[in-house]
């Protein structure tokens, strides 16, 4: 009786492990950058000849959304950013990754522009410094410029409600405390 149960036990253990494996996302690689100061860049803006650097934002929390006009999931999440921008909770910076200005502008014209600033990273060099390996990616920085969270892949309503909004209110509270 006992011996007969052994294969069943092994099989059930295997099923449990495989079931857990199915719920994990292999693309969701933990970023070593969380808790570290955000990498700096000095990139040309999309709508002017000036450059922009995150140093200009010191003292307030901000979001960096990395997107491209050739990226399908960026299109999927974009409306959520447009909605988020309407609420004016936080500064949202767009980093246009490996794209051309003309296509980027056409894309923002079609879908709406939620970004206070959009910068261009045509060869992906800033992307490497931020550990980007697939667009879209979204980073949340606190008022000290420390990376607090990284979303890999498109934002969803669920991720905004469960992760982003609580984090933003926490960052806001900290900011008022510091003041």
């Amino acid at each position: 009786m006992n011996k007969q149960m052994i294969p069943l036990a092994i099989f059930s253990a295997l099923v449990i492990f495989l079931a857990i494996g199915l719920t994990l996302d292999p693309k969701d690689v933990p970023s070593p950058l969380i808790g570290k100061p955000a990498a700096n860049f000095n990139l040309q803006k999309l709508y002017s000849d000036e450059t922009f650097s995150p140093n200009e934002l010191k003292g307030e929390p901000w979001i960096l959304n990395i997107w491209a006009s050739w990226c399908v999931s960026c299109r999927q999440e974009h409306q959520l950013f447009v909605d988020l921008a309407k609420e004016q909770l936080i500064t949202i910076v767009g980093l246009n990754y490996k794209d051309t200005p003309a296509e980027a502008k056409a894309w923002l014209k079609e879908l709406g522009n939620p970004y206070q600033v959009t910068v261009q990273d045509p060869n992906g060099q800033a992307g490497i410094d931020w550990g980007v390996y697939g667009v879209p990616e979204t980073f949340v920085m606190d008022s000290q410029g420390i990376i607090r969270y990284k979303f890999t892949g498109p934002l969803t309503k669920k991720r905004i409600k469960q992760i982003l909004l609580p984090l933003l209110s926490e960052l806001k509270d900290n900011k008022t405390q510091v003041k």
């Binding site: 690689v29 070593p32 390996y133």
Partner: protein, 154 residues
């Protein structure tokens, strides 16, 4: 005879195919190097670093855009900036984590990864030993029975 010929042609087409695959893998961009050491380091690095887009390929095998960018980054750091191999690895780990390494360091997080195969090997050996011992303890009694029947028949 016919079957023999068929098998042989299948075998040779397989050989040609694998040979072709190998050259396809090797045809990535060619970068100039100042020294033989730099080229050696470059080849070791793109072999050891993982492409994060196609996660089961290294930088050398992958033709994803990110792999191309990271190969360029490795080359720039080695040749233009004259950095050594370790600082390139450090640069990649700072940005992409240990996940980027196909040869990750032994840490508390990776302990199971490193010791897991040996644990399974020991389990397997233990299991095998038990089976062998069981069959050994069964066989003598069988032999004894056989001897008994043999002696009875005599």
């Amino acid at each position: 005879m016919k079957i023999h010929f068929l098998l042989r042609s299948i075998f040779f087409s397989f050989l040609t195919f694998t040979a072709l695959m190998h050259t396809a893998n090797a045809s990535i961009e060619t970068y100039p190097f100042d020294t033989a050491q730099q080229e050696k380091d470059y080849n070791i690095l793109i072999d050891e670093l993982r492409c994060l887009v196609c996660q089961n390929q290294n930088l050398a095998d992958s033709n994803a855009e990110l792999a191309q960018d990271l190969r360029r980054q490795v080359h720039t750091m080695l040749v233009t900036e004259k950095k050594d191999k370790d600082s390139v690895v450090k640069f990649m780990v700072e940005r992409y984590g240990d996940f980027v390494l196909y040869n990750p360091p032994v840490k508390s997080q990776t302990l199971l990864l490193w010791t897991g195969p040996f644990i399974f090997l020991l389990l397997g050996i233990g299991f095998l030993m038990r089976i062998i011992r069981q069959s050994n303890s069964v066989q003598p009694s069988n032999n004894k029975e056989a001897e008994d029947t043999a002696s009875k028949s005599e």
